[in-house]
Amino acid sequence: MITFEHVGLRYNIGPEVLSDITFKLEQGAFHFLSGPSGAGKTSLMKLLYLSQLPTRGSVQMFGQDVSKASRAQRMMIRQRIGVVFQDFRLLPHLSAFDNVALPLRVMGRKPHEVNTACRDILEWVGLADYMNATPEILSGGQQQRVAIARAVIGKPRLLLADEPTGSLDDATGYRIMRLFEQLNRMGTTIVIATHNQQMMDHFNHPRLMLDKGQLSVLPPTDKAQLKAAH
């Protein structure tokens, strides 16, 4: 579904922040993306949600080479991707309902479809009573759930989350991870960028390890090894 082949990325005339990245994500995969600060996680995420195009190599998404795709084709690819940003990036003047409705409105869905889908998804994330609340009156955890609802409402084929549990307490973090696993079971491919070793050990999915712009793919850790380590 997603194939990176010898991908490199540099900003303007600076050095390459990602070098020779090669990996493949199959439909329904669940990966953690990890690595030290400055390793290039955010840059790789930007390539995945098409905020940047590779400066070399090839990125294939949903059967299309993103560098060769037309502007309209890239727009269609983006509509199949959901993103949960580390800082949520909710629009402060919009209610939880309207923030969640954005992707569907962008896709040109009919108002009654948008209303039904938003109500359902806000109920699913436990925010049915907060539809008209603006982000400023929501807690960090509630904002996070609005951001997740917004990312998944369009039924994306790929869900990207950047440190989705970074600003949450453990209990809320684990609850949100379970939401992601639920989505994954429904067929959504998921990539979660995180520093949280405990979380990665607990949920134990394959890892994309980035270090100094180089990527290695690690399989899930053996359960027995994990038990021994803890």
């Binding site: 905020s51 727009m75 983006r78 309902f97 992707p103 962008v106």
Partner: protein, 304 residues
């Protein structure tokens, strides 16, 4: 809890109060100025038409008080010749009206140059015959009239005012172009201001625009948010500016009327005039809309 019924704009573009007020104020003032300039153009247009229609097709025949041999002809003698001239010209089928200009009217004409006592002085005044042609610009008929005039009195001359009319047309055209140029320059300034404001908002809302872009919003969808704002705020401001300009014009017209500015034509507030004035707010809004859309699309084109 019930879902909200009204769809708000995705980008909080109208929240930028200082910027919105500034642009609104500039658009109101610029549109008012453009409306005044358009009003000026309309006055010049009307003035030109009234001057042309009052002169075109008219011939003035002058029977000089001093004959070709240098002798001075008395007023009574001039009146007899003027009568013969009128009778001869009345037979011409190309002429719709011929009349002798009275002594009083001639005195009124020379009054600005000779003063209030022009009539009572011993200065010999010519006799004048005013002719209106059926078809203004008919050169053959004009030549025939000149021949008739010479037949009646060899010293008499006929004046078609063509040289003056052509100067007048040139002068009024320059005036018309200048006023329309002023209106165009004002509207252009207005459009540039809106373009600047749109650029400022693009920078201020860059993160939100990037978010919509990442969600897969088309460039048209994002540009539409700005276009809607421009149509709403600039359109409203342009309308207010146009009305303000019209109020000033109407007040100015009333003042001019009280001052008995006979040189200026009466302002007709008919459908044509209102249509003429509607051009200003329509152009300001339309051009601002196009400028906003072009600016947003150009910025979005830099995103992958």
């Amino acid at each position: 809890m019930a879902a909200p019924s009204r769809k708000p704009a995705d980008l909080a573009l109208e929240k930028d109060d200082v910027g919105t007020k500034f642009v609104t104020l500039v658009v109101i003032m610029m549109t008012a100025l453009a409306t005044l300039a358009m009003g000026g153009a309309l006055v010049v247009k009307e003035l030109r038409a009234s001057w042309v229609s009052s002169v075109s097709g008219h011939i003035t025949i002058e029977i000089p008080a001093v004959a070709q041999d240098g002798s001075v002809r008395e007023a009574d003698a001039l009146a007899i010749i003027a009568g013969q001239m009128r009778d001869a010209l009345a037979k011409d089928t190309d002429i719709s009206d011929v009349r002798i200009v009275s002594r009083d009217e001639v005195e009124q004409l020379v009054k600005p140059w000779l003063g209030a006592n022009a009539g009572s002085s011993d200065l010999p005044l010519p006799a004048l015959v005013a002719v209106r042609m059926k078809n203004p610009g008919d050169e053959k008929a004009t030549d025939a009239i000149a021949q008739t005039v010479r037949n009646v009195d060899t010293a008499a001359t006929s004046e078609t005012h063509q040289a003056w009319l052509s100067d007048l047309k040139r002068f009024s055209l320059v005036l018309l172009m200048a006023t329309l140029g002023m209106a165009a320059a004002t509207i252009a300034c207005c459009t540039l201001t809106v373009t600047g404001a749109v650029k400022a908002r693009l920078a201020a809302h860059h993160n939100d625009i990037d978010l919509l872009h990442v969600m897969g919003a088309s460039d048209d969808y994002i540009a539409g948010q700005f276009v809607r704002l421009v149509v709403k705020s600039v359109g409203r401001a342009a309308l207010v500016g146009a009305i303000a300009g019209l109020v000033v014009l109407k007040t100015g017209g009333l003042v001019a009327g009280e001052l008995q500015a006979a040189m200026l034509p009466a302002f007709r507030w008919d459908f044509g005039a209102l249509l003429w004035f509607a051009v200003c707010p329509a152009l300001v809004t339309g051009l601002s809309l196009l400028a906003a859309r072009f600016t947003v699309l150009r910025t979005l084109a830099l995103m992958p």
